[in-house]
Each structure stands twice: as C-alpha cells, then as structure tokens.
C-alpha cells in the first residue's frame, strides 16, 4: 500500500521501454499477423488479399509432423534439463557462497559465447571424425557412429544451451527454502528421500515451473542448433520459417508458421502459469 503514490507515475518508469517494445516488437508482430492472412505470390511475395490458405496448408502431414516434432524435441530437452539440472541447482543452493559463485560463473559462461560458436564446438566433438568417434576407434570400434545430424544431436545441443535457464530459477527457489525445514522433516522421521519429496520438491516447484517454461520456449523457437546439428529431413519449425523466408520467398507461409508457433508457446506457457498460480493462490488464501 505504501507504493500507491508511485503508481501515478508508472508511465514514467515503464513508458520508454514500453514505447520501444511497441515500435520494435508489437507493430512488426501485427505486420506478421497481417502477412499471414495475405495471399502468397511467387513474384510479389505477398498480395494484399485476405485468405486462409496459409493456415489451411499447415494441416498437411508435413507441417503437422513438423510441429509435433518441434513439440516433442522441446519436451524431451525440458525433461532432460530438469533431470540433470535439478541436482546441480540443489547442490549450488546449499553450497558455501564461494562455491556458489564459481558454479554460477561456470553455468553462465557458455551464455557469453555465441550459439554458432558453441554449435561448432559440438561439431568438433560429435562429427564423423570428431572426438567421440576417434575415442570409439581407439577402443576398437570398426566404424564410427553417426552422431551428428540426428535428433539426438539436437537434444544434446539444446540441453547444453538451455541448461542455465533451468538451473538458475530452481536454485533461486531452493535458496529461499530454509535448511531448518529439511532438518525439521528429518527430525520428524523422514529419510533424506522422503524429506526431499515432501518438502524441497513441492516448495521449489515454482522454480522448476519457471525453469521448464524458459527451456521449453527457447527450445521451441530454436533455429541455429537444429539447422547445424540436426538432420536435413527432421527439421524444427524455426528452420522451416527460415527456409520459407529466404529460400522459398513465401513470406505469408512463414508468417502463418510464426503465428501458430507463437500462439502455441504462449498458450502452453499461460496454461502452465495459470495452473501453478492457481495452486499457489489456493495455498495462501484458504
């Protein structure tokens, strides 16, 4: 309630960046939405003539599989990140501040390097003459494994790139849980596992949800990684949009893909937020 007087000046605080977003995000997005209902023309890119064909086309098997594959890969990456990232987040949250600082640095460091460069790193490791295959040959394998340009490679690449987005929110959530709650649970007769399932996991759920949503949205819109590490035939939506824009010159088609992808991500994210927010509200207000 103390903050009330400030609210009158909210425009002053939010205004400048709001204007920026309006001009450089909202308006272009509206433009994309418009484009998605214009007719595609091979010569003029788009004709200002309303049509639903761009969307109708997405029901074709090719596009439906494209979306399903993108969803599936993103979900797998999210789950892998959660399973691998949660223990790291717990360890860091319960570490001394020195270890935590070091851990955070190591965790965030990859974000300071461009995605393209990171992907090239993976090419060196996973390529047909890469580190893994050379190692396998040293161990006596006759033929190298095909690691690159597979779904597995995309999952490995995306997991590594999105891991910080999973670990950081979970770590923040666990840090807020007092260690004395863990001790209380143990004192009341819980084994470490029972303590974890009954206290830490439910109490860190908001962090796990935000982390998962971040990883999921980033994976859904991934472009560089699947383009360079994935197979030519098993594309993700991001690549398809790129192709439609630059190779096929079908901007309305790219626009409809963009709108569906955005609506899908926003819809799933809001659904998750609504579900967890509702639970949190129920807990507090009763």
């Amino acid at each position: 309630m103390q903050r009330r007087p400030h609210s009158r000046y909210w425009a002053l605080f939010v205004g400048p960046y709001g204007a920026y977003l309006l001009v450089f995000l909202v308006l272009p997005f509206v433009n994309v939405a418009l484009l998605s209902v214009y007719l595609h023309s091979p010569t003029k890119i788009a004709v200002e003539e309303f049509t639903a064909t761009n969307y109708a086309k997405l029901w074709e098997v090719y596009y439906a599989t494209l979306f399903l594959r993108t969803l599936r890969l993103s979900l797998v990456v999210t789950v892998v990140c959660a399973v691998l990232g949660y223990p790291v987040a717990y360890f860091l949250a319960r570490s001394t501040s020195r270890i935590m600082t070091l851990g955070l640095f190591l965790l965030i460091m990859p974000l300071l390097v461009s995605t393209v460069i990171r992907v090239f790193g993976w090419l060196v490791i996973l390529g047909s003459e890469g580190l893994v295959n050379q190692g396998l040959r040293l161990l006596g394998a006759r033929e190298g494994m095909r690691l690159l340009h597979t779904e597995g490679a995309v999952i490995i690449g995306l997991t590594q790139q999105t891991m910080p987005f999973m670990v950081l929110p979970i770590m923040a959530a666990i840090e807020r849980i007092s260690p004395s709650l863990e001790e209380a649970a143990r004192n009341l007769g819980a084994t470490w596992g029972q303590m974890f399932v009954r206290t830490i996991l439910p109490l860190s759920m908001p962090g796990l949800v935000s982390g998962s949503l971040l990883v999921f949205s980033v994976s859904m819109s991934a472009f560089v990684t699947p383009a360079l590490m994935g197979g030519r035939r098993e594309r993700m939506v991001g690549q398809q949009i790129y192709e439609e824009v630059l190779t096929a010159y079908n901007w309305p088609g790219a626009a409809s893909l963009t709108i569906v992808l955005s609506v899908l991500v926003l819809g799933l994210v809001s659904l998750a937020l609504w579900a967890t927010g509702r639970r949190a509200r129920l807990e507090i207000s009763r």
Partner: protein, 364 residues
Amino acid sequence: MTGAKVGLEVRGLTKRFSPQVTVGPLSFEVMEGEFFSLLGPSGCGKTTTLRCIAGFEEPSEGSILLGGQRLDGRPPHRRDVGLVFQTYALFPHLTVFDNIAFGLRLRKFSKAEIERRVSRMLELVDLPNLSERYPAQLSGGQQQRVAIARSLVLEPSLLLFDEPLSNLDLKLRVQMRYELRDLQKRLGKTAVYVTHDQTEALALSDRIGVLSQGRIEQIGTPSEIYEWPASAFVADFIGSSNLLKARVRSAGTGADTAMETEHGLVLTVPRVADLSGGTVTLLLRPERFQMATAGNGDTSAANRFTARVRDVTYLGEDLHLRVLASERQPLLVSIKNSKGTRAIVPGDAIDLAIDPEDIHVLLR
C-alpha cells in the same frame, strides 16, 4: 524429577570445527522427566551440543546415550528425539493439520488414528480451530505451539528446544514460558532446552548447565546457580551482580575474614578455606543491600558503610542506584520502591549494609 533414572547421558562430547574452534569435551546427565537447560552466550557451544543430540552434527569424540542406547551414528530420522526450532521451521505449504500429521504419516498410521492424535494435540496446545490454516496465517505464538505439537504428537523420548521463545515479544514469551513448563511437567517428558536468556533458564529448568567457550562452567538447580555461582563468569552471566576484586586484609580469628576491595572498601566475608592466591572476586547481588536508615538501631551489622548516590533508575517495582561506597568503590544497588526510597536523588549520602552471608567469595 520423577525418578532417579537417567534419561539422556552425554559423555565427553567433543566437536572440532577447526583447531581454534572446539566445543567440549562436555559431560552431563539428564534424568527422566527432567527439564534441563543449556545456558550460555552465543558461540558457547550450546546449539552445537543440541545438534549433536539431534543427529545434525557428527561429534568428533564422545558418546550420547538415550535411555541407555547409543545415539551417535544413528541417522537423524531414527533417533526418537523431537526438536523445536528457533525459527519454528513449519512447512509453509502444509496446513496446521498436515504439519502436525507429518511425522504420523511417515509412520504409516491409519487415517482415523492420525485424525484422532492430531485433534488431541491441537486441544493440548489450545489451537483447536486453526487446523486448516497455513503457517503464514498464524501469529508467532501460534506457530510456536504448532511446532511444539508437531514434535509432541510423535511422543519422543526426548524433547529438544533450540531457543524456541526468542522470536516472540516479551509478554508472549513470559506466557509461553509458563505453558511450556506446564506442558512438559504434565507429559513428564525429558527436555533439553537451549537458551541465552538467563531469566528463561531460571524460570523453566529443574537444572541448568552454564556453558562458556565450549565448556560447562557449572551444573546446578536455578537457586544453586544463582546463590552459589562457581565462577565469576557464572555470577556475571546470571542476574546482575557487583563483582569486586579484593584481597585479604586480616585473616581474622573467628568465623569471618576482612577483605579490602581494589577500590578501598573493607568488607567482612564468611571465612574461606583456601585463600592461598590472595586475590579473589567478591560477588554482591544488588538486591541484597539494605538501607540502614538513622532510625535503624542495628549497629551490629558488620558491613555498614556510607555511599554517595550517583544516579537513580526508576523501574517501577524497584529502584536501581549507582553509588560510590567509601568515595571510590562503584556499586549497583537495587532497592524496593517505597515512600522512603522514592525521595533519594543523585548526590544524597545513604547508609547501606550487607550481611556477610550475602557476600560470595569466588576463587575463579
């Protein structure tokens, strides 16, 4: 104390954090049904001791026995020891009912049995209507009661309290003190209570162990600790006190010895067997001084002297005077608030007396 049976036994407990920071070795016994306090300033090792008993710290040496069984080495969830935390440590995502039922559910009690035990416990701590609330919706005192109920419902052999009242305001603290004491006596539970608050320890405990720098200074009943402190540290820590450095003036032939403080006040004290060192510390409790008014003909009082009042603190029931005795010896004097004493103002000269029996000679 309900019986002479030993409930908890701590033998030579030592915890080394680093060569410089060591707790112990500590040894003490707590009888069954006894309320035992570990009292000391922060950093004295009282909480470490408690955490060793609960199994959250591994002792470097020594052993802990509960009902004759060794506890050390057993994981915290298999110790049959209930711990009440300073911060209550209630589970914020669970209702009061679910918080109290937490341990019962782990022990796979039937639903009906859990229902029965939790409601009985809610009655006991006087919170019958709040079972569906969340901890965030409770006051500090209510949260504390839930925390106690959550431990008690499991009927542990030993209850541990880690400064459980220190987050409450004064009035509630005093009220909870009575309730806690009452509850512990009614259930006959062995309890170890850690606190830095001497009033709390005196009010609650059957016996107190006073700790300083990782060692036990003295173990005794509240009155033993207060009346016969074993060291200057204990005397200073428990209650307010005048601690005066003094040396023997004349050994005396009778039952008494005359001593002179470093600021020149001569006092007669009960004869002390071992005065080889020469210098000792005298303990004079502020409330043991008597006003020796002119009308009071008791000239036989041995320790009678004139003192100049430097300032007066009005505390309602009592007045605290800071005085200079024999022109040089500062003393803190507590006297009852009455018609006569209310007139005292700084600069007044008053006559004070203290019974030699009320002067305690501390050899360390």
